[in-house]
């Protein structure tokens, strides 16, 4: 069984924001919500680095642990999805998430949070694959079509990798060998350590 992971190679990301745009377009994400974002650190300095970040589909997902209605589930492929019919928009998943992945449209009075929206690894939600309901709530289900997430598929520098963890790490390993260092990977030792431990 696959274990789906994202990996963004900071040595390659050029902050073009195409992944952000492609994601928003592919899933017709609500106004004010971006499932993916690119963050540049040390902007304008010689050691500037950019990273594309969205839901990292954690193994022990903090969002799922704190959800008061238990609306998260992990698919067989290790993708963390959620059920918008159960979501009450409390925002706890955002408080717990290390990556700021959960997004909330403001749809109530007084800036109240609507139902949470986040990256689905292009894998929809609990409804039937590629049904109209799934499409409306979660966007397109590319995994069900045998395709990988669009953000990574169309990344022009192939900085953003998505797919089975073994294949992603094989590709990155090749790059590491060619570069002679693993500095492009952000928290690489955490992400691919089978024990989930190790020092950052």
């Amino acid at each position: 069984m696959a274990r789906m992971k994202f990996l963004c190679d900071a040595e390659r990301c050029i902050e073009c924001n195409a992944c952000v745009t492609a994601c928003k377009n592919e899933h017709e994400v609500e106004w004010g919500v971006n499932r993916r974002r690119v963050v540049t650190i040390n902007d304008g300095e010689p050691n500037e680095k950019s990273l594309s970040v969205a839901c990292m589909h954690c193994t022990d997902a903090p969002c799922a642990a704190v959800c008061p209605v238990d609306c998260f589930y992990t698919t067989e492929d290790g993708v963390v999805l959620h059920n918008k019919d159960a979501c009450i928009g409390c925002g706890y998943c955002l408080f717990a998430c290390p990556f700021g992945a959960p997004q909330f449209p403001q749809d109530g009075a007084f800036g109240e949070r609507g139902k949470m929206d986040k990256c689905t690894f292009c894998n929809g939600g609990p409804e039937a694959d590629n049904s109209a309901e799934e499409r409306a709530k979660y966007g397109r289900n590319r995994i069900a079509e045998g395709k990988l997430p669009l953000c990574a598929e169309m990344c022009s520098t192939k900085a953003l990798l998505a797919g089975d963890a073994n294949e992603v790490s094989d590709i990155f390993r090749e790059r590491v060998v060619a570069r002679g260092s693993n500095r492009g990977a952000w928290g690489e030792n955490l992400q691919f350590n089978p024990l989930g431990g190790g020092k950052g």
Binding site: V39, P62, V69, C71, N83, A86, G100, R113, G200
Partner: protein
Amino acid sequence: MGANSLKRPAAWLMRLFAVLLALLAAPLALAADAPAAKPPGDQVADYWREVRQGVPGLSQVQGAESGVLINAEGQAWRDLRNGPIKKYGGTILLAMIGVIALFYLIKGQMKLSAPPTGRKMQRFTSFERFAHWGTAVTFVLMGITGLAILFGRTVLGPLLGSEGLGGLLALGKLVHNYLGPVFLFFTILLIGAFLRDNVWQKCDAAWIAKAGGLFSGGHVPSGRFNFGEKTWFWLGVTFLGLFVAGTGLILNFPALMDRTRELMQDLVLLHAIGAVILLTLSFGHIYMGTIGVEGALDSMKSGEVDETWAKEHHEIWYDDVKAGKSGHP
């Protein structure tokens, strides 16, 4: 004019001097501040460490904290909420219920020792009762919905399933969010209504010494409110009531003033801790006001008590009223 023309070149000279000084000092300062050039590997370690600590970068995506790659406090928040707050919070709530049940089984209801006289005297005005019941009703609803948010998944989740619980809590969240400010309003009314009767009186010292006669069953004279009621008023209603309602009010507006996750995390934890303690204390108050003490519920329902009740529970107040005084301390 003369003074100005004299002053002007002087000021100009001073400025020139300052600029020259700065120019002279700049290379010195740069030399002192410039860190020793680090090898590229070390620089990489440095900025990943900063990212890990939540130092923000720059993002084209608009939104609160979109430049923050790592929400460094999230894990601690998860551990605290799912750990001690649920564990100890649940424990003290259940323990309080247990203690009260045990107390009731052993001591039973606190009955009047003399037969009622049939003569009634006013204990609460209609305004006081309005403030009390307004607070009481909103408090109970806030308590039930709040507990459902903290413990619903553990207690009701297996019964209702995720969507059933979600449906219930969606309604619960609405009730909790919209009733919160109403609760705050009533709490303020309640504090205003009872403040003057909850000041320290000499008889309170005797009450404390005998623990209110709770275990000995002895009779301890007190004013309009005894020290137990005063403790509930100050610690429960005033301090915790305002604290929980206040933190809740800020949490009610997540979009306002660019609220950061750190603020919201801290407030959720403080709100939960305060609310659990307030609920625990409230069980004691609710017990004493309903089945714990004969005639207590009637006093808040009708506003009137029998003279025997007044004499037995609040003798100093009874004497004051009978002597034609206001009854207030």
